[in-house]
């Protein structure tokens, strides 16, 4: 299986005044195309930071990050922004939808950056809403939807430009058990039917069950992937 993500010796420092804090320490990571990765670890251990680097939202202090063939650490912020449009979809804990737009509008938003026509944008957004099971809610504003529904809209927005990679930061963190399970099912479906690679930060052991690989992060260090492969196998079996 070919590789979608590769991090080599990635470090990330945050500078606060004169102080510099090392948040990621020599992270090495390799994710194959079509994998679901669960990233676990205590709060403040650097999970979101790593996810932001993989999604091209931030640049590492040192090390190399290659996603889908592009060296993210060596291109400009502008280039990264253009790359994100087609290559990666984001799902956040608090959905982060634009409250003034309808569900349909929110899903269409990233397509404004593509050269699709108005009607193509409309059609693709409707299709994405269909995939997440909200085909009939296009006209609703986020305020009129439940948390689970809003997260589905957010997933549709992440999907709509058909990226290979979805990065999800605690996607079920704000949801009740049943709704969380439904969202995890949905992500599972996207992986199975559409071949999406998913990297998901989570505290939820059940979410980890859906993953094929579970990585543990602690104080900016990633437990070595080889160790993980073993522990990931039972999970993978559970899914199958």
């Amino acid at each position: 299986m070919s590789e979608l993500i590769r991090c080599t010796n990635v470090c990330k420092d945050y500078v606060r005044g004169a102080e510099s804090i090392r948040v990621l320490r020599n992270v090495d990571l390799s994710v194959a195309v079509g994998t679901i990765v669960a990233l676990m670890g205590p709060s403040g251990s650097g999970k979101t930071t790593l996810l932001n680097l993989i999604g091209g939202l931030d640049a590492p202090t040192s090390g190399e990050i290659e996603v889908d063939g592009l060296r993210l650490d060596s291109v400009s912020a502008r280039h990264l922004a253009r790359w994100r449009v087609r290559s990666v979809g984001f799902v956040f804990q608090f959905y982060n939808l634009l409250p003034v737009l309808t569900a349909q509008g929110n899903v269409e938003l990233p397509l404004l950056l593509t050269d699709l026509s108005r009607s193509e944008r409309k059609r693709n957004a409707a299709l994405a809403l269909d995939i997440v099971g909200l085909g009939d809610r296009g006209r609703h504003k986020p305020g009129e939807l439940s948390g689970g529904q809003q997260q589905r809209v957010a997933i549709a927005r992440a999907l709509v430009s058909d990226p290979r990679l979805l990065v999800c930061d605690e996607p079920t963190g704000d949801l009740d058990r049943q709704t969380a399970d439904e969202i995890l099912e949905l992500l599972q479906t996207l992986h199975r039917d559409l071949g999406k690679t998913i990297v998901m930060v989570t505290h939820d052991p059940k979410a980890a069950d859906h993953a094929m690989v579970t990585l543990h992060m602690d104080k900016g260090k990633l437990a070595s992937q080889d160790d993980q492969a073993a522990s990931a196998l039972p999970s993978a079996r559970t899914v199958a």
């Binding site: 979101t48 932001n52 999604g55 939202l57 931030d58 912020a77 502008r78 922004a81 253009r82 790359w83 994100r84 449009v85 984001f90 956040f92 608090f94 982060n96 634009l98 409250p99 003034v100 737009l101 309808t102 349909q104 509008g105 269409e108 938003l109 990233p110 404004l112 950056l113 108005r118 944008r121 409309k122 927005r157």
Partner: protein, 382 residues
């Protein structure tokens, strides 16, 4: 969905806040148009004329009358070559909005003094000989398509006739050349005869020419000395000085208008700027999400700036539009008092430019902040 509909949706996010801002903007621009019109009306009246003339006014105020007998007394002074007298008449032609300067004058001495206003000998003699005649400046006659021989009704609101009528009729003797626009002169002799008792034998002010221009100050002292102890003392000034004093009063009106406008726009900038800053703070996470999706720093800044400009320009257009709608009514009511009350296309164009500038000023801070916003920090802040 497109960026324009996103812009619209953002403006309507807090309808009450947006409406309040919109209304204050509209009021500011309405005020702008009104003050601009007043300022224009006042500065329109000043025209150029000769240097060797003196204006003789009541010492009490520019608007107090003087007795007609002053004319003969001044004329008898050696220092004065010629003197003529004028009255304020006012009124309007058919409708209150048709108002223009109208003065009862003595035909011969008037055109002798104001020699830059040119009248043919034939017209002047008709003006002298036909008791109820009037002469119009070419511009005035052309404006209302008056022909010599036409009867011109002037409706009065200050001077009734002795018979109680407020309507005066004049016969147009002809036209004269005057570069200052619309002006109607009527025969003083007829005015004095027909006007109600309290208005008789009064003149508004006198204009004279001194025999020896370098000695104008001596002449002025002599004239004013003549009436020093009378019940109607005078104040004489050179026409130049008179105009300067008048212009400085007009200047005051302009200055006061600009001060009011500055205060209004300063307040508007604070108010709208505060609203824009507040709206921006509420949207930081949303703007970060847009950047996450791939919108460039510049695109996000442009969106924020465009929203500020759209609000200011729409408020500006609304206020200006209301001003233009009110114009005919205001002109009818105020026009007679201050010349003409007109909202020029130039003022409307200024208003639009001003609205755009206002949007730029008000939107600058949020736009720059939006541009600088880093995704990772903004998403963490929530």
């Amino acid at each position: 969905m497109n960026l324009l509909s996103l812009l619209g949706a953002n403006l309507l996010r807090k309808p009450t806040r947006t409406s309040l801002t919109f209304v204050s903007l509209a009021i500011a621009f309405l005020l702008f148009m009104l003050l601009q019109a007043i300022s224009d009306a006042f500065s329109g009246g000043v025209s150029l004329a000769g240097m060797d003339r003196i204006v003789i006014d009541s010492r009490y105020s520019m608007t107090d009358n003087l007795p007609l007998s002053h004319v003969q007394q001044i004329r008898s002074l050696d220092d004065v070559e010629q003197v003529t007298h004028m009255n304020w008449f006012g009124g309007y032609y058919r409708e209150p909005r048709n108002s223009f300067a109208t003065y009862p004058v003595d035909p011969v001495s008037y055109f002798d003094i104001f020699d830059e206003q040119i009248i043919s000998g034939e017209t002047l003699s008709r003006f002298r000989n036909i008791r109820i005649s009037a002469v119009a400046s070419e511009a005035l006659a052309a404006h209302y398509s008056w022909q010599p021989g036409d009867t011109i009704p002037i409706m009065q609101d200050i001077f009734p006739q002795e018979n109680g009528s407020w309507s005066w009729q004049f016969e147009l003797a002809g036209t004269f050349h005057y570069s200052g626009g619309q002006l109607l002169l009527i025969n003083y002799e007829y005015f004095n005869e027909a006007v109600a008792g309290w208005g008789k034998d009064q003149v508004g002010w006198l204009v004279g020419r001194v025999a020896d221009p370098p000695e104008v100050d001596a002449a002025i002292r002599k004239i004013d000395g003549l009436f020093e102890n009378s019940s109607d003392p005078t104040r004489s000034t050179t026409e130049d000085e008179y105009r300067r004093r008048f212009a400085s009063q007009l200047g005051d009106v302009g200055e006061i208008s600009s001060m009011i406008l500055m205060a209004v726009f300063f307040t508007i900038i604070l108010l709208t700027g505060n609203t824009a800053a507040q709206a921006f703070a509420e949207r930081v996470p949303e703007l970060a999400v847009m950047k996450t999706l791939g919108f460039s720093d510049r695109a996000v800044a442009a969106l924020v700036l465009a929203e500020a400009i759209a609000l200011c320009v729409s408020g500006g257009i609304f206020g200006t539009g209301i001003a233009l709608l009110l114009e005919p009514g205001l002109n009818a009511n105020l026009g007679g008092m201050i010349g003409s009350f007109e909202m020029s296309g130039r003022s409307a164009a200024y208003a639009l430019v001003l609205a755009t500038l206002l949007g730029l000023v008000v939107g600058a801070y949020p736009a720059v902040s939006a541009m600088r916003l880093t995704i990772v920090d903004a998403l963490r802040e929530r």
